[in-house]
Chain length 371, copies 2
Amino acid sequence: MTTPQRPYNFSAGPAALPEEVLQQAAADMLSWQGSGMSVLEMSHRGKEFISIAEQAETDLRDILSVPANYKILFMQGGAIAENAILPMNLSEGGQTDYVVTGSWSQKSAKEARKYCQVNVAATNEADKHTRLPNFGSWQLSDDAAYVHVCSNETIHGVEMHELPDLASLGSKAPLVIDCSSHIASRPIDWSRVGVAYAGAQKNIGPAGLTLVILREDLLGRALPITPSGFDYQIVADHESMYNTPPTYAWYLAGLVFQWIKRQQEGELSGLAAIEARNIAKADLLYGYIDGSGFYENRVGADCRSRMNIPFFLKNEAHNDAFLAQAKAAGLLQLKGHKSVGGMRASIYNAMPLAGVQALVDFMKDFAQRHG
Amino acid sequence: MTTPQRPYNFSAGPAALPEEVLQQAAADMLSWQGSGMSVLEMSHRGKEFISIAEQAETDLRDILSVPANYKILFMQGGAIAENAILPMNLSEGGQTDYVVTGSWSQKSAKEARKYCQVNVAATNEADKHTRLPNFGSWQLSDDAAYVHVCSNETIHGVEMHELPDLASLGSKAPLVIDCSSHIASRPIDWSRVGVAYAGAQKNIGPAGLTLVILREDLLGRALPITPSGFDYQIVADHESMYNTPPTYAWYLAGLVFQWIKRQQEGELSGLAAIEARNIAKADLLYGYIDGSGFYENRVGADCRSRMNIPFFLKNEAHNDAFLAQAKAAGLLQLKGHKSVGGMRASIYNAMPLAGVQALVDFMKDFAQRHG
């Protein structure tokens, strides 16, 4: 349970962590499991850290039901680095398809142009990134090395609640998803995914760790200019220890994975419990916003993100007062991204339902006082 | 002071941290300075983290006397990623000079060949990386974009106690130093250095953070294939926040910098105190090894590292017993790198003189019992 003195933190990332995870990290700081070493001080080649690393990978594979023919890589650089690392590893300098649904996929497409031919197969720019283009409208290439989507747009609050079945759309390419801001918030249908990558600093834990989960047959295609430390084949061959991995971030991610596995909601446990809670949290907040008359969310009902909920005060003259009073009420980091404006509540896995309820209660009260 | 229950950790990296730093990190874990947030949970755009980041940079600039016309970048990927990122940013695809003095500089030279012409200006391979080639013997190119050295070879235990003055050697190129394993252990003569880079996991703190300190006139030369997140100009223009930085590692580095500034040895303080202590530690260990008759160090006397001290039992049949008994005596991670064999004691800034004394006492005792 969140203790009274800790406010609710709605940061889009780096973001709130489960308090149990922080308590464990504090308790382990001077000596991990009687080893006399902080995890920060362990050689990545030593048996202590290798046990931590292997357990984290096993737990993540379990939580996300990652098939045996997919590798899990623990890398660095975040999704922004992956925007380059991915085409270096997968495009072979040829044709690729990008679906643009917000700032993040736009950035990905732009960066990829350094390494390959980029076809923008669909874009929701005309809708100001508030709707998702129907799968049927995507103009896919005949010979793309891959099709890239951002399955949850952190800034615009647009989420793909179903991933496309590319084969049914006439493409033989593997689907690549940037799932940074909703990984581990719901299951992934691996039958539709070739590569999933995610910066860790939203649902997994610390900034500075990047997860790449990819089908083994996609390894070994790197361009000669790919840095060795970012060549998926080399990283995979060295169990993510070709360069010194971000060991402490890996350990913290492992604590988060164990926390996910412990979660219960009624009959549900683990990721299913997390997903049910995320649905309940999102329903509570969207439901209140839509009925309020004071606030609004502008994203299409079928693609509203469960994780990142941008919203606006209909009278934006109250914005500063809203933020100041929210902070005073223990509700932190609600300011919207500068490119969208307004407010944004990021309600990742670590945000309890009570935190969303506290936000809704505050919003109601604020609306009454300023309506 | 190190409490009795914490053993001495001689890991080459990730490596021991000052206990005061770990205690501070544990105390801050649930709420940094009354903010109600762990540093792990802070947006990198928020005023709390920006204050942490700026203080760390200011302190490092102070400790290392970094001139105002040098940028300090907080990056990711470690020295192995820098082996590619550096030539991407600085070679302009042309000629470069590399001095090979051990495994690390060898790796750097090999990786650079993907991006530019590499001239190996000198190598100590014939000496099995135990001597440093005289500056006068270096065969420098007329038109190199830079000259690269590894100023402390972690694996072979070879350190440059003076950096070359390239102008006096007839080169107009800037000197680039990979100083990963001795940064902040001694001053850097910036009049001789264009770029210094270092993985943080030896003397600075956590794995997953890479420092790049470079003269401003060297910015803006990146090859078009450079990933945006690793383009020095872009990173510098965004105060190391173009992508989400490894925020917690940055914070921990800041705690280490503050610890360095607090150090006192007699009249000396800060980095001068650290350096004096490092000299005393190295003298103690080398002095004992050389006089022991039981152990030996094979590195030339003029280039022995103060940080990484590889040594051998003259009778290697005792190696396993040495390691097992050392561990039982609270002296951890003394096994040498597999490419060199024998033992290695890494005695970075965080290792107190008492730790080296404990090692020497154990080595004496072991020699008596097995001599």
